[in-house]
């Protein structure tokens, strides 16, 4: 009815206080949108990195490092549809002594095959890049960089490089005195380990136990290169050695079976989206026919479920906290409308005597509340979208002005703050805003309609 819009203008839009509720809604929506966009961008980024540093699927032994017949398994896997590469790997935990004793996760891989099953070629670093990253802790690699070529990868692990230890050292300006009798195996350590514990050309000693014989194993390796996956834990704790070096370090040759025991086989698919389908195929069509079928199939998401869930839960917790702002906005609408009902009780009596229905009064207040909510949502959304689209220039400007980095790039190696707006995140923002706004208006509206017009007319 005409009087709704007419009175609405006079009751709320010509006063100052209702705009506080608009601001509260806008602020809630704005915070939710920008926080969710950054969290989601960050999550995507993490997923991408983890996905790259782990292969799409791994088939591994049910018992630690005892997959026998990996050669046969690789062949069978390569026959499957969607599978483009497969390679055996060994993984084991070791301690290494550099400055101090540090645990690490040793990954023995077939150097070239590993570049095919994962993003090995993408995160392995060139000498010049290592130098740059070591010079400045906040430096990050450019977004687009060419993956290392096969030659570059082989040269990092090459016998010549190890033999010219002096040359390796001279590249990084340090002369080492001790010599060596046997040419040690090469090892590639994460950039964080290189920043803290060791240097290129260093000889480090790994200590572990053989999972086969359960005997202690000690072996020296020479640090020949480094990598950066972008996941801090991996860049700190992972170490790559050639598969054969791992077999010998962990003493994995099985005399009875006349085969190396490995931990598992990594598989890469043509398209990551086929991961569930291929997992089922492997379970049903490959595993039952193996000589040693005691294996498990996992997707990378299965393997990193906890980390991914942690990021997801973090996002959810923050959304709930941010929703408190929206809830607060709903409470503000409730308070403002309730005060208005009290202030305008006589007007309500007059309106009823002039022929307004109860429903009309409900509608009058609901509209006011929803108008405040909607205005807040629109303003908040616009502000949120603007912020999300300009977050990096803004961040840079803040850094230049105050020297403060809100988002230090060295923690996550992100040169830019990643953002991503998902349709479902908009739902997470808009639905609570509308629901809280509606509830905040409905209660005063019902209360206003319940007022007895006769008593209302006598209200002072």
């Amino acid at each position: 009815m005409q009087y709704h819009g007419f009175l609405m203008k006079r009751y709320i839009f010509r006063r100052l206080i209702p705009y506080a509720a608009v601001l509260a809604v806008a602020f809630g929506v704005f915070s939710l949108i920008s926080v969710l966009a950054v969290m989601e961008g960050f999550k995507e980024e993490m997923r991408g990195r983890i996905r790259g540093s782990l292969s799409h699927i791994t088939v591994f032994s049910r018992f630690s490092t005892s997959l026998i017949g990996s050669g046969e398994l690789v062949e069978r896997l390569l026959e499957l549809e969607h599978v483009v590469a497969a390679a055996p790997y060994v993984e084991g935990v070791a301690m290494y002594r550099a400055n101090s004793i540090t645990p690490c996760e040793v990954r023995g891989v077939d150097i070239l095959a590993e570049a095919e099953v994962g993003d090995f070629a993408h995160y392995l670093l060139r000498d010049s890049e290592i130098e740059m990253l070591l010079k400045d802790d906040t430096a990050a690699l450019p977004d687009e960089r060419d993956p290392l070529t096969t030659e570059e990868i082989t040269s990092i692990f090459s016998r010549e490089r190890r033999a010219h230890k002096d040359q390796l050292n001279s590249v990084f300006g340090e002369e080492r005195e001790e010599g060596f009798r046997v040419l040690p195996q090469p090892i590639v350590v994460g950039i964080e380990a290189l920043r803290r514990n060791t240097r290129i050309g260093d000889q480090i000693e790994l200590q572990s136990f053989s999972p086969r014989t359960l005997e202690a194993r000690v072996q020296s390796f020479i640090v020949v290169g480094s990598f950066q996956t972008g996941v801090f834990e991996q860049d700190q704790g992972w170490m790559f050695i050639p598969l054969q070096a791992a077999v010998s370090f962990f003493d994995l040759f099985d005399e009875e079976e006349l085969d190396d025991r490995v931990s598992g086989v990594s598989v890469r698919l043509d398209d990551y989206r086929n991961v569930d389908k291929v997992r089922e195929t492997i379970r049903e069509e490959v595993i039952p026919y193996l000589a040693h079928p005691e294996v498990v199939v996992r997707t990378w998401e299965d393997q990193r479920r906890n980390l991914l869930r942690a990021v997801d839960i973090e996002k959810r917790i923050i959304s709930v906290m941010m929703m408190l702002i929206v809830l607060f906005a709903g409470v503000m609408i409730f308070l403002i409308l309730t005060l208005m009902v009290i202030e305008k009780t006589r007007d309500l009596g007059v309106l009823r005597s002039l022929g307004a229905t109860r429903g009309g009064v409900i509608s009058l207040f609901l509209r006011q509340g929803m108008a405040l909510t909607m205005l807040g949502i629109v303003l908040g959304s616009i502000a949120g979208v603007i912020l999300v689209h300009n977050i990096n220039p803004l961040h840079d400007a803040i850094y230049r002005a105050t020297g403060l980095r809100l988002f230090p790039p060295d923690v996550y190696y992100l040169a830019k703050i990643p953002t991503k707006m998902r349709v479902s995140d908009w739902g997470v923002v808009l639905i609570p805003a509308v629901v809280f706004g509606f509830l905040g208006s409905l209660i005063p509206a019902l209360w206003a309609a319940r007022q007895d017009p006769i008593k209302a007319l006598h209200h002072e």
Partner: protein
Amino acid sequence: MSDLQAAEFRPATPDDLPEDPRPIVLEARGISRHYQLADSKLEVLRGIDLVVREGEMVSVMGMSGVGKSTLLNIIGLLDTASSGTVIYHLEDGPVEASGLNEQRRAELRNNHIGFVFQFYHLLPDVSVIDNIILPAMIRRSSAHFRREKAEITDRARGLLDRVGLAGRETQSPGTLSGGERQRVAIARALMNQPRLLLCDEPTGNLDARTSDTMHKLFLDLNERYRTTFLFVTHDPSLARRAEVQKVMIDGRFEDITLEEAIDWRIREDAAE
């Protein structure tokens, strides 16, 4: 006092003339109203009969607390009687109020009943002209209103002129004097061309002089535009000007004239 004597005493009123040609607007039959208090029943109205004809002016006088406002609220469909019926005679036939839902009662209030209160009850945030237009807004959807806005505004201006406040359209009610506010309230009550104007002590808050001009306005509206009035008042000079004069004692209309009632009250006051 016998019926015969009473008939001699009383000047003839339209009620006594069954052949009165004017159509009936309102008919109230056996209205009673009680309030349930904590441990007792407060009987306020005890069977009121009332007929109001088109163009008539009816006044109701009575002591404070006798139930005049209660009666007006029941007739104005803001309250419901404990028993008895209120019937409105509209163009398309009689409508019995007790059988109506809230929606229909609101419609009746909007279309056929105009209220004038002792404390004016204008909306303070709304200009004079918009206060008058308000009943027209309540009736219409926004689109409907926009289409007829020009006529509605013209009519409101005309009403403002009729109550003697031409040119005050954009003033805020807060800046008007009491008498002026009551004029605006009357104009608002007339906006939707109601069948009946219900006034509860319309001059109760005004000084004698202003009251007097207000009385003249009522008479003028009644004579020139045949506006039908039912008003409750404590002001004998206004009550006397009404065509039909009712006196309420103890929840009933008592069969005494206004003059008797006034005499009686003066004597009571003197005895105190």
